[in-house]
Symmetry: C3
Subunit: 137 residues, 3 copies
């Protein structure tokens, strides 16, 4: 069994931002030299998510608006008594989920025709980290 671990770092310009990381992950898969295995991509900070979906501007805008609708940024969260103001980011991350497992087949990411991998930041403008871990052979 082989394993390979890397970390991606993000410091987004916007507080909320979607970053397409598909090519970053493809490169790490190549470096790992794993032919058959699993690639875990997991946000290590609890106000960010990993989302697999479509690289289409309208849809990304829809998702942002929808998340704001079902998990609104507002003042009166109990979490904010700690001095934080990002409770909505914790909820938005929860909806999208913070991790995916990508299959690796014949040395390549085994994705569907439209699957793209996004780092979804909900409380950025500071350094955040994602772990990418591959196991296989």
């Amino acid at each position: 069994m082989k394993s390979h671990t890397e970390y991606l770092f993000f410091n987004t310009k916007q507080r909320k931002e979607f970053v397409n990381i598909t090519q970053n992950i493809e490169k790490i898969v190549n470096i790992s030299n794993v032919q058959e295995g699993f690639c875990l991509v997991s946000a290590m900070h609890i106000t960010a998510a990993i989302w697999v979906n479509d690289e289409e501007e309208g849809l990304k805008q829809d998702v942002v608006e929808w998340l704001e609708n079902i998990a609104p940024s507002k003042k009166n969260y109990s979490h904010h008594r700690t001095g934080e103001d990002n409770a909505d980011a914790h909820l938005k991350r929860t909806i999208l989920h913070h991790q995916v497992i990508l299959p690796i087949t014949k040395g390549k990411l085994d994705l569907g025709p439209w699957e793209q991998i996004f780092y979804a930041e909900f409380d950025g403008q500071r350094k955040k980290r994602v772990v990418v871990k591959i196991i296989g052979e």
Copy 2:
């Protein structure tokens, strides 16, 4: 380490449909001959999900209604400017999540008493694909 990869294909009669695939996955686990490992089941199209829950008609109806309530099918999504009409399907897939990892123990799916695996289609009536990938020994 062993690995085994198969693809399931779906072309549902209804646009939105839940298909119980537990037996399909059990068969693939048997074929793989893996005794201890993980089985990834992941929808490769971005308007479908994989959901582990109860095979109970009433509950499935509740889930469909609840998803329609929090991620409604409606006209005015930005994504629809591309000519698509399925933005709600992308959101519904996001809520249910598009993949699960099933543990394999002593050569069998290690599921709880009520866990059943569903392919959840939100924009069907055309050919769609799911990857099933097992690694273990």
Copy 3:
């Protein structure tokens, strides 16, 4: 390849309760003696979830209230025609998702600075089970 499987049992005092299981998982990782691998933590009953987020009382209260808001406990679910009264628990589990994969690096859980692992019970006061399965080397 090594594998290691354990089960955690819960019988919460409250019907809905969050239990921090980070130390339980750390102990199992130690026992497994796996240096590089994946640790699956998956709720085996379909009214409980596994949630990775912050050990902060206010935030946990926010999440409980938010889940009640978007997946309310109420009488008129179709599932309740079976005699059950826990349809909301199935929906709440679906939002949080029922499983996570934790990376193991250099023999330890490779978590971010604030990541804590919770067993999220939505229909407790009875015996429930979680599978913890590690594969790696």
